[in-house]
């Protein structure tokens, strides 16, 4: 019997031994490989995202990690959930019932095996405590996501942009560039434009992991290459001042934009769009409702109004028409045109129908300088459309459009920011196609004073003015100056591409003189400051439907540069629902004053406070127009309510057909409509101060 039992022992252990030999000797190598695959894992090593500095080296963004406490319901112990909840609750200071509710909500929404977020945005201390607990508390998972902390918040949000988790579409496109499903990338601003530079090159390492995937040792590593740092062209202090000044002059929820550019390099020193938003809200999970609120907020804070929205440029556009007229021989500096406050145009087919195009005042006889300085609509009606009955040949809409394009309108400026609008330069073909109506002489007149269909972004107008200021170079505005490595050494300096506008520098000098006169004695006097000679052009652009009292809503513009004789910077200011003289010009004055005089109270030689209506300056010492009789002749009366008496009687008055009014303005943005000859409106059409 005992022999049988011994045999049984030998038999059973023999079976075990055979299988052991099978596993360990015959298939041993296979299993050895499997054990290695088990324990070794190749993981990506993310590169540190490049930092961003202002032009003076002030840090604008930091890299941070964002921690959230989550629970994977499926990993919770069978009966120990309460203990897990209690431990987590103690760590993050949340009642167990609330945690329970969140876990249940998570199960309902996304199932057992997706992490339910219990608390996001943990502070560092709590996060570290939870990370320590994590291996011992089944179900607890601490999520770590890369985040950017923008130190300047809403001051630079339109320029900086923000990063966000890669979307399914982006992933499909970028996966072969080494992007991973959990990656973050730039969504807008320079974070998007310079994604390639900021991102760097992720590395790889071979690590030994335990069964839970936790890293134990690094076997080998290819180190990541950190992203390069960006140096902006923006001067943070200037940006802050421009922002403060613009805010002061902008009513709540109204749009406004201002930008300052170096006229030689195209470097933007400041660019502000109001209202703004804090880009830090995008660093973390943002709820659908919060996002919708932000998108639908009054004034559209997410939109960079300096580059993404187009507006009728109004009288600022006259600088382009003026340059074109000089270059094309339509006008010279001494070309004198008399503004009686309006011009009449006969209907092509019925001479009894006469349209009236108004000036903002009967400005009298004006030479070219006076035309620019006083922003005479009539002057530029002549230059753009001519006056057939007087034998004055104008540029015609084709050439106006051609020069507008050569000054960069109608196409993106090429700024290194996403979301730029290309604006609109109309011509006969465009109107035929878009509106299905033939181009009329009235369209040319409106075009000539920056009204009607033409539309541009504030940055496009700044770029055009910059070309006038620097003698004809059309620069590409940009916000990034150079790339640096982490030691602050320059890797690459960005040069802006440029082209030349087809206008003789001598003619541009005439336009600049006109703009200078506008600030010293013309309609842009509110832009003047002491200590620096400023040249500029205002615009008060009408838009929308005519109101009951016959007026329109207006946008205010100022575009100018300084010093007038050796321009360094150019400034554009745009004020929605404002005027050029009273809203945009004083903002520009304050910006110039800060830039050249270091701030302090505005030392306006004419008037300390913004004047409600343009007044002639009495300081004519350096006024180039002082010797020009036309300029003084055309000065309007200071009293706003007094109807200026035209120098010639309005002969066309009786023939003015009111029934024609509705046919002339285009459906969307009505230009200066034919109207009654008597200048009954305080704010003149198009060419306001």
């Amino acid at each position: 019997m005992s022999a049988a039992m011994r045999a049984l022992v030998i038999l059973m252990f023999g079976i075990l031994l055979i299988q052991l030999i099978n596993l360990q000797v015959i298939k041993g190598e296979e299993y050895q490989q499997e054990a290695e695959i088990n324990a070794l894992r190749e993981v990506p090593v993310p590169a540190n995202r490049g930092l961003i500095y202002d032009r003076n080296g002030v840090l604008l963004v930091q890299n941070a990690a964002r921690f959230s406490a989550t629970i994977i319901p499926g990993d919770l112990p069978d009966r120990g959930e309460a203990a897990v909840y209690r431990m987590i609750g103690e760590a993050i200071g949340m009642p167990v019932s609330e945690i329970e509710a969140k876990v249940e909500e998570g199960i309902e929404n996304q199932g057992e095996f997706s992490p339910a977020v219990i608390k996001s945005d943990l502070d560092r201390e709590t996060a570290l405590m939870l990370l320590e607990l994590e291996p011992h508390v089944p179900g607890l998972k601490v999520d770590v996501e890369p985040a950017r902390r923008y130190l300047t918040g809403d001051l630079l949000s339109h320029i900086m942009g923000y990063i966000g988790p890669i979307s399914a579409e982006e992933y499909a496109e970028l996966a072969r560039d080494g992007y991973l499903y959990q990656d973050y990338l730039g969504k807008t601003g320079v974070e998007l434009t310079y994604e390639d530079v900021l991102r760097g090159k992720p590395g790889k390492k071979l690590i030994e992991v335990d069964a839970a995937g936790r890293e134990l040792h690094t076997i080998s590593e290819r180190r990541p290459v950190d992203g390069s740092n960006l140096v902006l062209t923006i001067d943070l202090e200037l940006q802050r001042r421009v922002n403060d000044i613009l805010r002061e002059f902008t009513p709540e929820d109204e749009n406004a934009a201002a930008a300052v550019i170096n006229v030689h390099t195209g470097e933007l020193l400041a660019m502000v769009s109001l209202p703004s938003f804090d880009n830090n809200v995008f660093s973390g999970p943002i709820s659908e409702t919060d996002l919708t609120t932000l998108i639908d907020a009054p004034g559209k804070p997410l939109v960079n109004h300096a580059i993404s929205e187009r507006y009728p440029p109004g009288s600022v556009f006259k600088t382009i028409v003026g340059s074109a007229a000089l270059q094309e021989g339509i006008a010279s500096a001494s070309t004198t045109i008399v503004s009686r406050g309006y011009i009449n145009v006969e209907n092509e087919f019925d001479p009894n129908v006469i349209y009236v195009y108004k000036d903002w005042a009967p400005l009298g006889a004006l030479d070219f300088y006076g035309g620019v300085a006083m922003s005479s609509n009539v002057y530029f009606y002549y230059l753009a459309g001519g006056k057939a009955d007087e034998g004055f040949r104008g540029l015609g809409e084709d050439r106006v459009a051609q020069y507008a394009r050569s000054f960069g309108l109608g196409s993106p400026t090429g700024i290194d920011l996403p979301g730029e609008s290309e604006g609109l330069v109309p011509d006969a073909d465009w109107k035929e196609e878009a509106i299905n109506e033939p181009w009329t002489i009235g369209d040319t007149y409106n075009f000539g004073i920056g009204q009607g269909y033409v539309a541009a972004t504030p940055l496009q107008m700044l770029r055009a003015i910059t070309a006038m200021a620097n003698g004809g170079t059309l620069v590409t505005p940009h916000v990034v100056k150079e790339y640096q490595d982490s030691l602050g050494d320059t890797l690459e300096s960005l040069q802006s591409a440029s082209s030349t506008v087809p206008v003789d520098p001598g003619y541009l000098q005439i336009v600049r003189d006109g703009m200078r006169q506008s600030v010293t004695s013309g309609v842009a006097r509110n832009a003047a400051v002491g200590g620096v000679a400023i040249a500029g052009k205002t615009g008060t652009a009408e838009f929308g439907a005519q109101r009951d009292d016959g007026t329109y809503q207006t946008h205010g513009w100022f575009a100018g540069f300084a010093p007038a004789d050796d321009p360094q910077i150019a400034v554009v200011v745009f004020a929605e629902h404002g005027t050029g003289g009273n809203d945009a010009s004083p903002v520009a004055a304050r910006i110039f004053d800060y830039y050249f005089n270091g701030g302090g109270p505005i030392n306006n030689p004419g008037d300390a406070a913004p004047t409600p209506e343009p007044e002639p300056t009495d300081d004519g010492s350096e006024d180039p127009s002082a010797t020009d009789p036309a300029a003084t002749d055309g000065v309007p009366e200071p009293e706003p309510t007094v109807v200026p008496v035209p120098t010639e009687p309005p002969t066309a008055a009786p023939t003015e057909p009111p029934t024609e009014v509705p046919t002339e303005p285009p459906p969307t943005e009505p230009p200066v409509a034919p109207a009654a000859i008597l200048p009954d409106r305080r704010v003149p059409p198009g060419g306001g101060p």
């Binding site: 019997m1 005992s2 596993l23 360990q24 000797v25 041993g28 088990n38």
Partner: protein, 369 residues
């Protein structure tokens, strides 16, 4: 109760073999718990195991000291105690890994079936020894079968399929040793094999069918139930002839192996000490079992012989099933490796079993002069 001269018959080799196994197991325990217990102190599993081994030796001496025939007098009571324990554990026991097997007692967990196995061996031995001349009577065969089936059924309800099988093996070994007619045995085994598919459908619950499925194809649930089957196989296979060295097994040290101090401790051995280490272990067990068989041979009466047989079969089957699970010869079932796996009740009861064997050896019939 013991005569001084009987000390001479005390089987020292048996004790040394058990001590060698405990030492071997401690080495493996040390390696398997290196991550969880980097320092060796009083709460270290290896230290606890050695403390239980000392307790076990004490229990062994006490059990050996008393004449084993006295246990025969108490057989009915011991059997009743076994059944009560197994019923009670279903109601007041603690659970782990989906089954209810443990009593909490004085801060320790006591596995009821470990105690019950020995009690049932003693009771069966008494019943079969009393009827050693009536073994042809099918009623004896039937009653002994029922005596096994009651505790085995209760163990199945925990559920603990492996231990239930051990009960079956013990009974089969003991009735064979007791002289059950080979014809009866053959008919019985034939019926069991024939009814196996139906019995499986009735008796096995989803949990057990699941384990069976995973045994056939661990890849069907590679991160769930199949994970450990696969990782144990990889661990042992990658150990090769001589292993990766103690504390150097990646599967063990990187926590790929679960329950590496209890049911899967053989995988630690296979990975870190290789085929060579496994052969040493099996050799130690073979020697130990041969000493047990020797005890059955020497027993002065049928009662002692049957107890020794039951114990030998119990140890043999536990070793076989445990190792077979580790090397994927049978579906997963949680059975400790005797003397090796971490677990106080198993270790102490193994020493109690050795105590019974020693008690039989020192009272063997060939009295020397």
């Amino acid at each position: 109760m013991i005569e001084a001269r009987a000390i001479r018959h005390f089987d020292v080799i048996l004790i040394l073999l058990a001590a060698a196994l405990v030492a071997y197991g401690s080495l493996l325990l040390y390696s398997a718990s290196l991550n969880a217990y980097p320092d060796v102190n009083l709460s270290h599993p290896m230290v606890k195991q050695l403390v239980f081994a000392c307790l076990g030796v004490g229990a062994m001496v006490a059990v050996a000291w008393m004449d084993y025939r006295a246990y025969g007098q108490m057989a009915a009571g011991l059997y009743a105690l076994a059944v009560v324990l197994l019923i009670a554990v279903l109601f007041v026991g603690d659970s782990a890994y989906g089954s209810t097997r443990w009593f909490a007692f004085a801060g320790q967990q006591i596995q009821a079936s470990e105690v019950a196995k020995l009690l049932v061996i003693v009771a069966l031995a008494r019943y079969l020894a009393d009827r050693q001349h009536q073994m042809d009577d099918p009623r004896v065969f039937g009653i002994s079968l029922v005596m096994m089936l009651v505790p085995a059924g209760l163990v199945m309800m925990e559920p603990d399929m492996g231990t239930a099988l051990v009960f079956g093996a013990i009974w089969l070994g003991m009735v064979t040793m007791a002289g059950a007619p080979p014809r009866t045995l053959a008919i019985f085994l034939g019926c069991v094999v024939a009814l196996l598919p139906f019995g499986a459908l009735l008796a096995l619950n989803d949990y057990q069918l699941d384990r069976f499925r995973l045994w056939i194809d661990p890849a069907s649930d590679p991160l769930g139930g199949g994970f450990n089957i696969r990782q144990a196989e990889i661990g042992i296979g990658s150990g090769g002839l001589f292993g990766k060295g103690i504390t150097d097994g990646t599967q063990t040290q990187l926590d790929f192996l679960q329950t590496s101090t209890t049911d899967y401790i053989f995988s630690v051995l296979g990975e870190e000490l290789g085929l060579f280490g496994a052969i040493i272990l099996l050799a130690l067990f073979t020697a130990l079992l041969f000493r047990g068989i020797r005890a059955a041979n020497l027993a002065q009466d049928q009662f002692g012989r049957l107890i020794a047989t039951g114990i030998v079969i119990m140890i043999l089957f536990q070793v076989f099933i445990n190792v077979a699970v580790n090397i994927r010869l049978v579906p997963v079932t949680g059975i400790p490796l005797p003397f090796i796996s971490q677990g106080g009740s198993s270790l102490v009861m193994m020493f109690v079993a050795l105590g019974l064997l020693e008690g039989i050896v020192i009272r063997h019939k060939r009295i020397e002069f």
